[in-house]
């Protein structure tokens, strides 16, 4: 190829996907820490939510730091989804005649459901933002101005908790393969030992995140966290 540019290759797309993915890993861990404040009660949870908006004041305006973080997340989301769609399309075109019989040996199920799992997480994200951030939907029809009470009202509805648990299962699977895959894409897993380590870190992080997030909805449903 004459005049080939490194930044226009599939590997460059993967690099962009890996970097944006790692930013999301940092975000989900920080977000989980905030969620677990629910076990500290009404005031601890709401104060955390409130302080998030005051972060960086008076140097930054009200919600200034929060919007910087949100902007970073929005850019990461666009990069992650766009590169994902481009690579998905390429892969679909690379084999237009399917095998009559095809088996995948020695691979994890999580690695085969990155794309549809990602779509599941994206759909969930839209609902989650409508639920708690943009629209503020209280499935019990109550007030929405108190973050803690809105959270308890939401998870007291059993099928809402189910939706969140399914989403956390999808997120766990996505991280299980995604973290090690991103490390591989960034070229950090050049030996068998490093590859095993990256896979372990991916699995442990996925477990911590999916269990950590599931604790609060389950605790609400079990009556451990109440208004």
């Amino acid at each position: 190829m004459k005049g080939a540019r490194a930044s226009r290759t599939t590997v460059a797309l993967k690099l962009a996907m890996a970097v944006s993915g790692f930013l999301f890993v940092g975000f989900v861990l920080a977000h989980m820490y905030g969620n677990l404040k629910a076990f500290g009660g009404h005031d601890a949870f709401n104060e955390y939510a409130h302080h998030l908006r005051e972060l960086g004041e008076p140097l930054l305006p009200h919600e200034g730091a929060l919007w910087i973080l949100r902007l970073g997340l929005i850019i990461s989301l666009v990069v992650h989804v766009v590169t994902g769609v481009l690579l998905w399309r390429r892969a679909a075109r690379a084999r237009t005649t399917k095998y009559v019989q095809k088996k995948n040996s020695g691979v994890t199920r999580a690695s085969l459901m990155m794309r549809w799992g990602g779509v599941t997480i994206l759909v969930f994200l839209v609902w989650h933002l409508l639920n708690f951030t943009i629209g503020k939907v209280n499935p019990q029809g109550g007030a929405t101005n108190d973050p803690y009470n809105l959270m308890v009202d939401t998870f007291d509805v059993w099928w809402m908790t189910v939706i969140y648990l399914v989403a956390m299962l999808a997120l766990g699977a996505h991280l299980h393969h995604g973290i090690w895959s991103a490390a591989q894409t960034l070229g950090w897993t050049g030996t068998a030992t490093k590859r095993r380590r990256a896979k372990t870190i991916g699995f442990v992080t996925a477990l911590v995140v999916s269990v950590g997030y599931s604790l609060v909805p389950l605790a609400v449903l079990a009556g451990i966290i109440t208004k």
Partner: protein
């Protein structure tokens, strides 16, 4: 052994193909998979039917010419090439599905034969080391650390059979490229062209229509030479380095 074979038949690249079923009796478990197909072809010849076209050359697992999708596995259920697969790996009375490598970058030529020229063009794009010809230089004039030499040799065992592409759910040739980039990149002679090599090879790979890698690992499981996934990490690292160097 008595076998039922479901085999992809396609008269030429332009025609549509389909699966055909053949019954084959008295197969010896000591036959290689290709010998089994030879026996079937002799019977087809006797009946005046067109024999099944498939690729093979050395039949000792070193040339990379053969390659069939057998029961959904590239090169069949064992970690070896199709020619080194023996009928003892199958059960009497079994139905065996045989298909060509499926990749839009590997067009079917006839029946089970595909054109793997795309891999040659990737090698032509950068999978080489440029040296002035002349008398061979003294081997010890360029020292290579033992570990690097061993690793370079291990990944240089890639025979370019295309099983990695055939097995990959994304139809990617990343394991193949990774093997070449790692092999040449570990050696002193490979350094001057290291950046251009990875960029040109990956660009050619994308141009041929192969998919991107998602690190699933089907390729390494199918590879008859057991090239490890490490080489894809090396490929990605070399490309990242090339970007940093302004390529």
């Amino acid at each position: 052994m008595n076998l039922t074979l479901k085999i992809w038949r396609q008269p030429d690249a332009a025609s549509k193909g389909a699966m055909h079923t053949y019954e084959l009796a008295d197969v010896s478990p000591d036959m290689s998979f290709l010998e089994m197909l030879d026996v079937l072809n002799e019977q087809l010849n006797d009946r005046g039917e067109e024999p099944i076209a498939f690729d093979s050359d050395c039949r000792e697992g070193i040339c990379g010419t053969c390659g069939l999708m057998i029961n959904g596995y590239a090169h069949g259920p064992e970690v070896t090439t199709t020619c080194q697969l023996h009928m003892r790996s199958f059960k009497d009375g079994e139905t065996i599905t045989i298909e060509p490598w499926r990749s839009d970058a590997f067009p079917v030529v006839k029946d089970l034969v595909v054109d793997r020229g795309a891999l040659d063009r990737i090698v032509q794009a950068g999978g080489y080391v440029s040296v002035n010809t002349g008398s061979a230089p003294e081997a010890h004039s360029v020292p290579v650390p033992k570990d690097d030499a061993d690793r370079a040799f291990n990944v240089a065992t890639c025979i370019q059979c295309g099983a990695c592409v055939a097995a990959c759910p994304n139809g990617s040739a990343s394991l193949f490229m990774g093997a070449k980039v790692t092999h040449l990149g570990l050696l002193p002679q490979g350094q001057p062209e290291r950046d251009e090599r990875v960029v040109n090879m990956v660009a050619q790979h994308d141009h041929e229509g192969f998919g991107g890698c998602t690190n699933i690992g089907s390729c390494t499981a199918a590879c008859p030479k057991e090239i490890p996934l490490d080489v894809i990490s090396q490929l990605n690292k070399d490309l990242r380095t090339a970007i940093r160097h302004g390529h």
